[in-house]
């Protein structure tokens, strides 16, 4: 599904070179729920941006759903983001001047769906997150948790192959965070691959696999087996055999 080989990302200024990612390798299989953790400045967001085609990389190979991402045109990148990837942002990133339905509709318009198709998908996505009755509301009329559910509905409406979630519960209280996490788990169970960047170790443990990034490299990963109640860490060797 996602394959990164020796990816590096260097930010250059006149005076310094910053290696945000170096020789970064990662394979994510279809249907996986992967949590990415790491200290601030470790390269999590850079990894997420590269994985989501939000920015390019300096060296290496990246294949997403069989497509070589290196040297894609801006239009092609936009089309892949729109069709294959759903984004969930820490700050929700809803457009405050649009109501919920219009917000969820945004990526569908860029896909070129007709009005009827958009309506069906918007209703279905908002129903999936339990907000179908509030589609005419503005984001400011909702709680943080509800806003994040709208953002998830927006990510789901285009039926992407995988979701990229950037601290999806970072701005939520624990109750709402749990609700959002349960929603993501349900989405994953339905077959969508999820990569979630988080600081929250408890939330990370609920994913099937944890990847820790330190200084721009994968330094460790832990794989959990089974359901939430009987998670058990596997060794790296075990994990390699599973992957």
């Amino acid at each position: 599904m996602l394959s990164m080989n020796n990816i590096s990302k260097v930010f250059k200024t006149d005076l310094v070179e910053t290696h945000a990612l170096r020789d970064f390798n990662l394979e994510v299989n279809e249907g996986e729920f992967v949590a990415v953790t790491g200290p601030s400045g470790s390269g999590k967001t850079t990894f997420l941006n590269i994985a989501g085609l939000l920015e390019g990389f300096t060296h290496g190979d990246y294949f997403l759903d069989g497509v070589n991402i290196s040297n894609l045109s801006d239009n092609k990148s936009a089309a892949i983001r729109n069709e294959k990837i759903g984004f969930i942002f820490q700050g929700f990133n809803l457009i405050s001047d649009l109501n919920l339905a219009e917000n969820v509709e945004v990526p569908l318009r860029y896909r070129g769906f007709n009005a009827k198709e958009r309506k069906i998908r918007v209703e279905r996505a908002l129903e999936q997150v339990g907000l179908a009755s509030r589609m005419k509301h503005l984001p400011t009329q909702l709680s943080g948790g509800q806003q994040q559910r709208v953002a998830i509905a927006r990510a789901l409406a285009g039926e992407p192959r995988f979701l990229l979630a950037d601290e999806p519960t970072g701005n939520l209280d624990s109750l709402m965070a749990r609700q959002v996490m349960e929603l993501l788990e349900d989405i994953n169970k339905a077959g969508t691959t999820i990569i979630m960047v988080t600081h929250d170790a408890d939330l990370a443990r609920r994913a099937q696999r944890n990847i820790q990034i330190v200084d721009g490299q994968v330094c460790d990963f832990t794989m959990y087996q089974g359901g939430q109640s009987e998670q058990k860490p596997l060794t790296i060797a075990d994990a390699a055999s599973v992957a």
Binding site: A78, F89, G91, Y110
Partner: protein
């Protein structure tokens, strides 16, 4: 891809900025449409052809104060003196100078009864001799010129033949031939005047006269002690003639004043000065208004880009191509421009009606508000496209960063 509905929703939910810009567009369209119409009308007036070789014709006036001078005889002598000077192509005495702002006019009737003299056509009235046509350089299109022996001297009542402009002929006789028609001059006497010729075009003295192209030339030298002459000469000779003519006339009779020497071109410039000033001031106002509106549009786009940086990044992350971002801002401003243009156009028509009533201006033609809106759409594109292209360069990675 056009996103009219969500853009409208955004505009409706965030009214204050767009509303102010909308008011600016409405006022601009209303004012620019009417101002452009007035400019075009004035420019049209100035561009009218007089039918005269303006740069070669000048006038002068001779004031004979000596009571011993027999004016109608002296005038004939004087015109011959002028005609014989080097560089002069033709000369005539004349009751007025075209485009000068002052002169004669009269109504003309088909008969002499009171009934026949009601609601008769009005025309500028030139008294002159057989060299009037060649002096002015007007083109005879029907009939003939006066013969020298047909020209009388001594007073307006002696006129018996007329050469009329094509506009006068058409307005007076319609499709009937003008040649051979007999007419009478206003309320002055019962002397019949037979039309013997028609000239293509001859303007009167008054540039604001609605029937400026209606003119009649009568075959008489007025015999006044104060006489105006029209002279046609090579342009290069006019400066010398300004000295040669007074010298020659004073040599013939010293006790008089010779003044004037103004070309028809100079009269034209003077007569149309107010129109030119009006057109210039209004043009500057139009340019200024359009510039301010364009700056308003560009300013609002730049403000919106700053305000929506994260939103633009998010849209890009969600799949918007660069052209989608550009079209988003273009459509947003086109909508404002079209709504403002429609409302401004309606106000422009209303304003035009008021100007028509108050200042007797012609009715505003619809093409002006339409052209103004079309022009504003072009300006909108110019004002918006660069900031919008800048917005399109906002990285989709902005969506994951704090802005």
């Amino acid at each position: 891809m056009f996103q009219i509905k969500p853009i409208l929703s955004m505009l409706m939910r965030n009214k204050s900025g767009p509303l102010l810009l909308l008011i600016q567009i409405i006022l601009s369209v209303a004012i620019v449409a009417n101002a452009s119409f007035i400019i075009a009308e004035r420019v049209g007036l100035i561009a009218r052809e007089s039918g005269i070789v303006e740069s070669e014709v000048f006038d002068l006036t001779v004031y004979n104060f000596d009571e011993s001078i027999i004016a109608h005889e002296q005038n004939l002598i004087d015109v011959e003196i002028i005609r014989n000077l080097d560089g002069v192509k033709a000369a005539t005495s004349s009751s007025m100078t075209p485009l000068s702002g002052g002169g004669w006019s009269s109504n003309f009737s088909y008969g002499t009864s009171e009934e026949e003299r009601k609601d008769t056509p009005n025309a500028a009235l030139y008294y002159g001799d057989e060299q009037m046509l060649s002096t002015l350089g007007v083109k005879l299109i029907e009939g003939r010129n006066f013969y020298p022996d047909e020209v009388s001297s001594g007073g307006p009542e002696l006129a018996s033949l007329a050469i009329v402009s094509a506009d006068f002929a058409k307005d007076t006789f319609g499709d009937e031939p003008a040649i051979g028609q007999v007419m009478y001059r206003g309320n002055i006497g019962d002397q019949p005047m037979k039309i013997i010729g028609v000239v293509e075009r001859l303007q009167s003295a008054w540039v604001d006269y609605s029937n400026i192209n209606r003119s009649v030339i009568l075959n008489t030298e007025l015999g006044s002690a104060f006489t105006r002459f029209l002279v046609r000469a090579d342009e290069s000779a006019i400066a010398d003639l300004k000295e040669a003519i007074p010298a020659a006339l004073h040599k013939e009779h010293p006790n008089r004043v010779v003044s004037g020497f103004t070309t028809i071109t100079e009269h034209r410039n003077s007569s149309y000065r107010d129109h030119e000033l009006m057109a210039t001031v209004l043009s500057m106002m139009v340019v200024l208004l359009l510039l301010i509106t364009s700056l308003g549009l560009a300013g609002m786009v730049m403000f919106n880009i700053e305000r929506r940086t994260k939103q633009i990044g998010t849209r890009r992350a969600l799949g918007a191509k660069k052209r989608d971002i550009v079209s988003f801002f273009l459509v947003e401003n086109y909508l404002l421009c079209l709504v403002g243009g429609l409302l401004g156009g309606l106000i422009a028509v209303q304003l035009g009606q008021q100007l028509m009533t108050l200042y007797s201006l012609p009715k505003l033609e619809l093409i002006y508000p339409i052209a103004t809106v079309a022009g504003l759409l072009v300006l909108t594109t110019i004002a918006v496209i660069l900031p919008a292209q800048k917005a399109a360069k906002i990285s989709p990675a902005t969506a994951t960063r704090s802005v």
